[in-house]
Amino acid sequence: MSKRIVIDPVTRIEGHAKISIYMDDAGNVSDAEFHVVEFRGFEKFCEGRPYGEMPGITPRICGICPVSHLLASAKAGDAIMAVNIPPAADKLRRMMNLGQMVQSHALSFFHLSAPDFLLGWDTPPAQRNVFGIIAANADLARAGIRLRQFGQEVIEILGGKKIHPAWAVPGGVRSPLTEAGRDKIRAWLPEVYATTQVAFDLFKKVLDSHKKEIQIFGNFPSLFMGLVEPDGTWEHHGGKIRFTDSSGSIIADQLDPQKYYEYIGEAVQPSSYLKSPFYKPMGLPDGMYRVGPLARLNVAEQMGTPKADAELKKFKKLGRGAVMSSFLYHYARLIEILASIERIERHLDDPDLLSGDLRADAGINSLRGVGVSEAPRGTLFHDYTVNRDGLLKKVNLIVATGQNNLAMNQTVAQIARHYVRGNDIPEPMLNRIEHGIRCYDPCLSCSTHAVGQMPLQVRLIAPDGTVLNETLRG
């Protein structure tokens, strides 16, 4: 008789989710499914509103990466006005995006994921969190907290607020970097480079001690997608789309992000509020692709800054062709933190950022505009259709985490297959399954534009709905 195991809620991810594991007659794992259980309906309730409001509303999709929505939304507005924004505005937007990359990746690494690989899988749940890290290694916790703080301060210095700054607008940005702000950011640099090095040293030990996890935490072929510059350099805010496959070969390059709908489709999974985008030319299931740090490093040929390039070379050696294990998202995140700090430093030396020419002005010149930016978790698309008055007629948002949905399901199944046997399911094994999800750092508030907490429920369910066995953990 086939059964289903449910994990509810999944914690230490940035969202509301449950996991179902389907068992076959022999008591082996047949499949797994990751359910997102909240939905707020942004795509609908934004209809009828002026497109200029969107950079104010859409960051409220997600408090973890509000800057991504702010920037994608402003860029969609640029496209509706059909303007090229002033160079200073583009550089300032980039700098804010880099600040966000640092804060979000630091959060994922130190606050959410480190409790697993530093404290150990079998640590009691009550200690396995950021407060547990504080208790076990206060210096490391403080360094991680301060690295995130640096990223948040870059955002605040530019936009006036750490979360939901009202700053980027269609046509540009509201205010430049000040000299005082520039000096404040510069003063942080030695410390954040040092913390990044500490994180690398630490993770290299994790690489040695977690060989098994690297093998089974989402280690399978898939496509990878991300923005790149024309020469294949890592991009985070401009550039064009590239897809590569698991052998590392480019299967499509320099695709116009404005025309994403020509190559990305969205599928609905009945038991989740999270949709599953796929690469249209290959259909489902072959069109499954991953986005985010691992994917960006797989599609990029170089990072474009010296320290990060040296790390990228080491990273690429971990795969034959593409680096396939999702456990290595953690490593990719550290390399992106380093690249972001190097690029922030480079921006600080650019006098353009103090410029007052920050806005392009125009009316409605195009009735459809798509804004694309790399969010910490992957490529984000905002697609707006407006009427002649600039009121929104249709809104479609494709967010990073959704694009990893299919890969997350496969990851859970792969881990479950390895650990889960029959009805005996000890807590640390469940945590490994949850960590499989955590590798992707899913941001579920984003993904459903929508994102609970209840007891962790493990249920074995027969096809007729009878509960065969049930446990609760607290």
Binding site: R12, K44, G63, A267, K275, Q453, P455
Partner: protein, 182 residues
């Protein structure tokens, strides 16, 4: 003195209030010495315990899961705090209320049928995907709330001012600019 048992929950919101809580930065380390965080999206305890002293509630009440946990929290907690504008007023998630009757179906229709190319259908799985409520509500419309901490999100210094008062056993009071929305 016995350590304060604190919980934080996340209903229908963007998690920005929780992120702002993390923006307490190094004050978190101080806090770790004074409180037990007994339930939160950032810890792994999955059952809301009994006898919690203070619970910060982020987000509006959007679906049946939110409703169920909110009643449970009220029954098991001494002091509830509406944490951020969505909890206080409904804020952004409540924009869908303006679509009037049937908004709970319309928003799903838009996302899962109009904007889908493969298997367009409304998500439905009993006991897994919670149905949306017909109307999004602020938390005080569902249960009694002791304190309100506004902001979108409340800035970290406001959260700190509030927590410091709670920790010293005072009746927390926010005034002037500390009471701003947005």
């Amino acid at each position: 003195m016995e350590r304060l048992k604190v919980a934080t929950v996340w209903l229908g919101g963007c998690s920005g209030c929780h992120m702002s809580f993390l923006d307490l930065d190094e004050f978190l380390i101080e806090l770790a010495g004074k409180i037990d965080l007994v339930y939160s999206p950032v810890v792994d305890l999955k059952v809301y315990p009994n006898n919690v002293d203070v619970c910060l509630i982020e987000g509006a009440v959007c679906n049946e899961d939110n409703l169920e946990i909110l009643h449970k929290i009220r029954a098991r907690t001494k002091v509830l705090v509406a944490f951020g504008d969505c909890a206080v007023t409904g804020n952004v998630p409540a924009i869908r209320n303006q679509l009037g009757a049937g908004n709970d179906v319309n928003v799903l229709q838009c996302a899962y049928i109009d904007n889908a190319q493969n298997n367009p259908s409304l998500p439905k799985a009993d006991g897994i995907v919670p149905p949306l409520l017909k109307r999004v509500m602020p938390v005080a419309e569902v249960v009694y709330i002791e304190y309100f901490l506004p902001g979108c999100p409340p800035p970290a210094d406001r959260i700190k001012a509030f927590m410091v008062q709670v920790l010293s056993g005072q009746v927390p009071k926010l005034e002037g600019t500390q009471l701003k929305f947005g």
